[in-house]
């Protein structure tokens, strides 16, 4: 193409002002309050008294052009030709006319087949990653596991009946592109990488050695050529090296499993942000519907729904009832592997006389 000879234009992120719904542009920075009219529908009121109604729908994240066109059709009919996406891959239809709410809901359900919800104290759409569909590192398929899990949790997406909002994420390798979350599903490997010495890409050698968190990788001559070796005792099967070098295969269809982590929270509300902790390990990586993973998530959600106080996120609920209760309520085993042995281990021990008996 002739354009390519002109070179790229380096515009960076496009101007958001061109894409703002007129009501958002008019009241930018001047909003007063909001009210959730029902699950999936929020009214935002500006200082000027203007109202903006937002209908939120869950999307499958990866979409066909036909689906995108249908989203645009609905936004053209009811939303002045504007639409936005949340970071959890929900689609938001905004309108300044209350009478558009029901027709939007109807159109979204009938034309797109998307559920309405994901607001307030619901289980929102799962922040997930690419998996077998497109990444070079996955040991599982995040999209498939998410579809199966959301089939199971759709009720909780469409209602607001949890103690607080629930964010779930999935990651298809231990690089963990999925975010910290109240509940997170992560792949776990069970042995050190298998090195394909014939195919070692020497160009990346220093990077591969540098990336290992356990300093387990050493350069080594193999049959006269430069390669690497892994010190078995140090390796913790994280697969970071595999991200750097395809010749250090970490995945193993026969042994890879899933693990579930709980209590992550980015928000500074109340006690502040917190990181996820191990709940359970060794869940079968079982396509196409991963029923064991869904089961485990269900168990956590059921216990949280029953026992959580209003406004308590999953991690805060566990902190209040104690980990012993958490393992009791969910039926997960508490093992020696739950006890941290990393550099911050001491800060995770109970160094008081507080015990729950």
């Amino acid at each position: 193409m002739s354009e390519s000879t002109m070179g790229p234009r380096n515009q960076g992120a496009p101007d958001y002002n061109l894409h703002l719904h007129p009501m958002m542009a008019k009241n930018y920075g001047k909003w007063d309050h909001h009210e959730r009219l029902k699950p999936g529908v929020i009214r935002y009121t500006a200082e000027s008294g203007d109202n903006l109604y937002v209908v939120r729908a869950g999307s499958p994240r990866t979409m066909s052009p036909a689906t995108v066109h249908k989203i645009c059709d609905i936004a053209d009919r009811f939303c002045d030709g504007f639409v936005r996406f949340t970071i959890r891959c929900n689609v938001e239809f905004s309108t300044d006319k209350a009478e558009n709410i029901e027709p939007i809901i109807k159109a979204v359900k009938e034309e797109l087949g998307f559920p309405i919800g994901g607001t307030g104290n619901s289980v929102s759409n799962i922040a997930h990653t690419q998996g077998w569909l497109h990444c070079n590192l996955p040991a599982t398929d995040a999209s498939g596991a998410v579809k199966a899990l959301m089939d199971d949790l759709i009720d909780e997406f469409e209602k607001e009946e949890m103690p607080n909002r629930v964010h779930i994420s999935t990651s298809c390798c231990q690089i963990n592109c999925g975010s910290h979350a109240d509940i997170s599903i992560i792949v776990q490997h069970h042995h050190a990488p298998r090195i394909d010495h014939k195919n070692m890409m020497i160009c990346e050698l220093p990077k591969v050695v540098a990336i290992c968190p356990a300093a387990a990788i050493r350069p080594k001559m193999m049959n006269g050529a430069t390669s690497v070796e892994v010190v078995e005792e140090k390796c913790m099967y994280c697969g970071a090296c595999h991200g750097q070098c395809p010749s250090m295969e970490i995945r193993d269809a026969d042994t890879d499993t899933l693990s579930i982590w709980v209590g992550g929270k980015a928000s500074s509300t109340r006690g502040g942000p917190s990181q996820m902790k191990l709940a359970v390990w060794g869940i079968p990586n079982n396509p196409p519907r991963w029923p064991e993973a869904s089961d485990a998530v269900r168990k956590i959600l059921a216990a949280y729904k029953e026992g959580g106080k209003p406004w308590e996120r999953v991690g805060e609920w566990i902190e209040r009832i104690g980990w012993a209760k958490f393992f009791e309520k969910t039926g997960f085993p508490f093992t020696r592997y739950h006890i941290e042995d990393g550099p911050d281990a001491l800060t995770t021990f109970n160094r008081s006389s507080h015990v729950r008996l």
Partner: protein, 415 residues
């Protein structure tokens, strides 16, 4: 149709159930899309995916693909089983930066969609975890054609590799009453100041900007961004006592006590006998909890700005890190304020680029060299807001204590 469709018995099981199925969407592209190229490409993509489901293995490998003039932004994908699935054997992703806040006009979405159907598989993700629109699936030649076309009408690639990455921001000022800063402006200003560092990866590792308008951090900035901005205010929060009374009347004193007063992390709240609210604004840490429970009654103050936290990241390599407060309060009002924000980002990136080891995120570097050395490197004075508590170990040399103390009192006197 002139091609054999792969059987996909496992994927078919993802078409049942009430949640929208990505598989059904993809299948419709194979069956109904007017372009035969797309039908065939998607058929082979489904074939390879089914093969992954059967064998529980991934079959994509990386490589090098870029567009003229850029070093990043394309995620190359070559199939390891391309012989069996030739139509999708090259299936690169083009990362494209969205407008801040992920707002779109349908006209622009349709335009992007049309270009993508012309040059790619049509398959698209809104959005990847890195904040980009991910256009999934095209070959090396058409990657360039697609980029040329969309670049012509205003869209640019996102980051990939050791570079400044695509930024992200919450909806904030566009619609949210909690917003304490112009998130979308901050997002665009910051990332577009570094376009060169986005497109030409030459940093020790990735560097991410994310902006949330308040401590609710809907953007997950503190846990995912090297440079996280969180909106806040430094005067008093605004209390509409009539609305407080209305909440108490509606919800009851017990509810307000159990869910607002006792949940404040710094015990800054008390309910007066006449059902009005008492706020100790000097104790309040702007955690947002009480504002979330009573959005009509409580609002951020007027003297707004941002807290800037540096060094958040996910697991690799030393474990997950939340960002650390480096600027407790940054006013963002005048042009000079905004300029100094960009300068701060430049100073931090320069210092990190010079001092980080290969593959070391900014937070990891801070951990290695110490917060004090980092602060000195970027010319920022220590502040008690940067820590949760002072040091515990007495085994330390404090040779310059007197000077440090004097400097502290001098700063205090100036403020």
């Amino acid at each position: 149709m002139a091609f054999d469709k792969h059987n996909t018995p496992m994927l078919d099981q993802l078409e049942t159930g009430p949640w929208p199925s990505f598989i059904s969407g993809i299948k419709r592209m194979r069956d109904d899309h007017p372009s035969e190229t797309i039908n065939k490409t998607i058929n082979d993509l489904l074939g390879q995916l089914e093969h992954s489901y059967e064998t529980r293995k991934g079959y994509w490998k990386g490589g090098t693909v870029s567009v003229y003039g850029y070093g990043g932004g394309i995620i190359p994908r070559f199939s390891e089983v391309g012989k069996s699935f030739p139509e999708s054997k090259e299936f690169h992703t083009v990362r494209v930066q969205p407008p801040a806040g992920n707002h779109y006009t349908t006209a622009m979405l349709r335009q992007l969609g049309d270009s993508w159907e012309k040059y790619g598989s049509g398959l698209v993700t809104f959005h990847g975890q890195t904040g980009n629109i991910m256009f999934i699936g095209t070959d090396t030649v058409r990657t360039q054609d697609f980029f040329d076309e969309i670049n012509d009408y205003g869209w640019d690639l996102g980051g990939a590799g050791p570079c400044v990455r695509t930024a992200m921001s919450c909806i904030g000022a566009a619609r949210c009453e909690m917003s304490c800063l112009n998130e979308q402006k901050a997002h665009r200003l910051l990332v577009n100041n570094f376009v060169d560092d986005v497109h030409r990866p030459a940093l020790p590792y990735k560097f991410k900007f994310k902006v949330s308008g308040c401590g609710n951090d809907c953007q997950n900035a503190i846990e995912r961004a090297d440079f996280a901005m969180l909106g806040t205010w430094r005067d008093n929060m605004k209390v509409d006592q009539e609305e407080v009374k209305a909440y108490v009347a509606k919800k009851g004193r017990k509810y307000i006590t159990d869910n607002v007063i006792t949940r404040c992390p710094t015990s800054a709240l008390s309910l007066n006998d006449d059902d009005t609210l008492n706020v100790n604004n000097r104790d309040c840490v702007r955690c947002m909890h009480c504002l979330n429970v009573m959005p009509k009654a409580l609002h951020p103050g007027d003297d707004k700005g941002a807290t800037i936290c540096i060094g958040g990241k996910r697991t690799l390599k030393i474990g997950d890190l939340m960002g650390t407060v480096v600027i407790p309060f940054k006013k963002l009002e005048t042009d000079e304020d905004w300029e100094s924000l960009v300068e701060l980002a430049e100073t931090i990136i320069d210092f990190w680029a010079e001092n980080a080891l290969e593959h070391e995120r900014c937070g990891e570097m801070i951990e290695r060299i110490g917060l004090v050395n980092f602060l000195e490197g970027i010319g920022i004075d220590p502040d008690p807001n940067m820590i949760s508590e002072p040091r515990q170990s007495s085994y330390v040399r404090m040779d310059d204590w007197d000077e440090a103390a004097e400097a502290y009192f001098a700063r205090k006197a100036e403020a």
